[in-house]
Amino acid sequence: MRNILAVAGKELRAYFHSPIAYLVMAVYAVLCGFFFYSFAATYVVQTFRMQAMGGMGAPNMTINDYVIRPLFQGVLTIVLLLVIPLITMRLYAEEKRSGTIELLLTSPVTDFQIIAGKFLGALALFGTMILITFAYISALFVYGNPSAKPLIAQALGLFLFGAALLALGMWISTFTKNQIIAAVVSFAAFLLIYVLNWVTAYSSGAVSKVLSYMAITTHFDGFAKGVVDLKDLVYYVSVIALGIFLTARSVEALKGRV
């Protein structure tokens, strides 16, 4: 555990001693803030219009359904596709380029401790970043009365969604010394698993069912609605485990133990 924390601390330091952490958080804050404002403003205009028309249907328009849910489901997941590669690209590519991978792999620590440390370091930055979302959302509690319960599920969903991408991005980063390549490939891969469930629009066979199950978006629906489903939890935890396992295999292959 001590080794894991040492590596995690080192990663976190590296993020905050380079522009990456600030850039990533700034990008996230701006995009998240813009969409949050748009949704909130639209919601305000819409509810006024409804009330002006005689209050019909107005009680059904909740802040949760019209502001928070679209923000999580329609916007933040897409922002993460863009931002997570920026977090994961350096995890292994940087160590390979600078030669520090030799230090890590010749130290008396296991590959798993290094991987877990790196993952936790990236996760800590990601966790800090999504806190920004809740700074915005807390404003809704000041001016309105949204229900807090679905928010817990949505936060958990977003965290798992991001963690799954982090694990896969870390794996992709082991293949190259070039951070830009790692970022581009990660983004392409993330986009692909994001749209995988689109196949159901034109096909209904077993293959499309499997592809749809594999899509990372399919399993976010429940969380976005405020429902924590075991099956979705299992999916995200499995993807995280898979990413860590593939990273371990890839690091093993670096040593020529193929």
């Binding site: 040492a6 230090l103 040593k255």
Partner: protein
């Protein structure tokens, strides 16, 4: 302390290291000598556990590096060719991080960072960012990193590469001072470095060990003859035959020819002074003598010869000469090295 047995490493179809075996005694400094691409780095990386061998075994302090890698790594401090430093950290932060992953207890960490900084004379830069340090300092930070957990064994890959002459001397002294308490393997492609620092040398070429022994003995064997370089203005064939007849000369090789000026290398019996004789022969013939100096086989030459023999090729002799008959005997004497 270190036992390497029949070590082989393949990268796909290419054989990087083939059947390499050697041993290092406790407290000894072993020089690992070879041209670039000879397999020095690969061998060192296998000993440190960074690469896994395709065949053969390595034991450090009695521990097999493949079977119990963590235990083996605790005994080893490793300085790769490029010091593995995080450029965004300060020297102290970096050494503290390395100390932690090398398993130093927290209580000892600060003390050890101070000790190795002292030893490697980097205390004056301890709060500077490593990225802003010169190559010489970075190299010393790399060495401090290798020493931080006070390992029994130090593996140093070209520790003096890229340093200026003063730093090279300092680093050599530092490494020499480490012998006794640490067992050291250091790689280099610089011959004098080996004779100055190492007690024993393994010469490696094309992935195989071509010679092994104490540096003095090895230099003597590798340079089995004296050599004089002569630059003369005159007809090349005449010069070569004339100089070849000087007593004590075994062979004359043309090294370079530009215009009327010819540079030849004269091989002589070992410790046999022929320079005044050569000068006389040249002046008597009425040629212009431009330069006359003792030459030596450079390491590169030795390796070219050794490796060409490995491939079964004949060493190309630039020009032949009557004295070559005598040369034959020496040839066989020298080729014993390859066995």
């Amino acid at each position: 302390m270190i036992e390497v047995e029949n070590l082989t490493k393949r990268y796909g179809p290419t054989l990087a290291v083939s059947e390499v075996s050697f041993q290092v005694q406790k407290g000894e400094i072993l020089g690992f000598l070879g041209p670039n691409g000879a397999g020095k780095t690969t061998t060192m990386r296998i000993i440190t556990g960074f690469l896994s061998p395709s065949a053969g075994r390595v034991r450090v302090a009695g521990v097999d590096v493949v079977e119990s890698p963590l235990e083996a790594k605790r005994h080893i401090g490793y300085l790769p060719e490029n010091p593995p430093v995080y450029t965004d950290m300060t020297v102290n932060e970096y050494l503290a991080f390395v100390g932690r992953i090398k398993g130093l207890p927290r209580a000892e960490l600060k003390k050890r960072v101070g000790e190795v900084s002292d030893k490697c004379s980097i205390t004056d830069v301890q709060d500077r960012q490593i990225g802003k340090l010169s190559k010489g300092y970075r190299q010393r930070v790399g060495l401090a990193q290798a020493l931080i957990h006070n390992p029994d064994i130090l593996i140093l890959d070209e520790p003096t590469a890229g340093l200026d002459p003063k730093q090279i001397i300092e680093t050599r002294e530092l490494i020499k001072g480490l012998a006794g308490q640490h067992t050291v393997i250091l790689s280099t492609h610089i011959l004098p470095e080996v004779s100055k620092t190492c007690q024993r040398v393994v010469v490696i070429s094309k992935g195989t060990v071509v010679a092994m022994g104490a540096p003095d003995e090895l230099t003597a064997r590798l340079q089995g003859y004296g050599s004089v370089l002569v630059t003369v203005e005159g007809p090349a064939p005449d010069i070569m035959s004339k100089l070849g007849r000087v007593p004590g000369v075994n062979l004359v090789e043309q090294v370079e020819a530009s215009g009327a000026r010819v540079t030849v290398e004269v091989h002589t019996e070992k410790n046999h002074e022929v320079r005044s004789e050569l000068a006389r022969a040249i002046v008597e013939s009425g040629w212009g003598l431009f330069e006359l100096k003792t030459g030596g086989m450079s390491l590169e030459d030795i390796f070219l010869k050794l490796t060409r023999r490995d491939l079964g090729e004949e060493v190309p002799e630039a020009e032949t000469h009557p004295a070559e008959v005598q040369e034959q005997g020496k040839e066989t004497g020298e080729s014993e090295l390859t066995n």
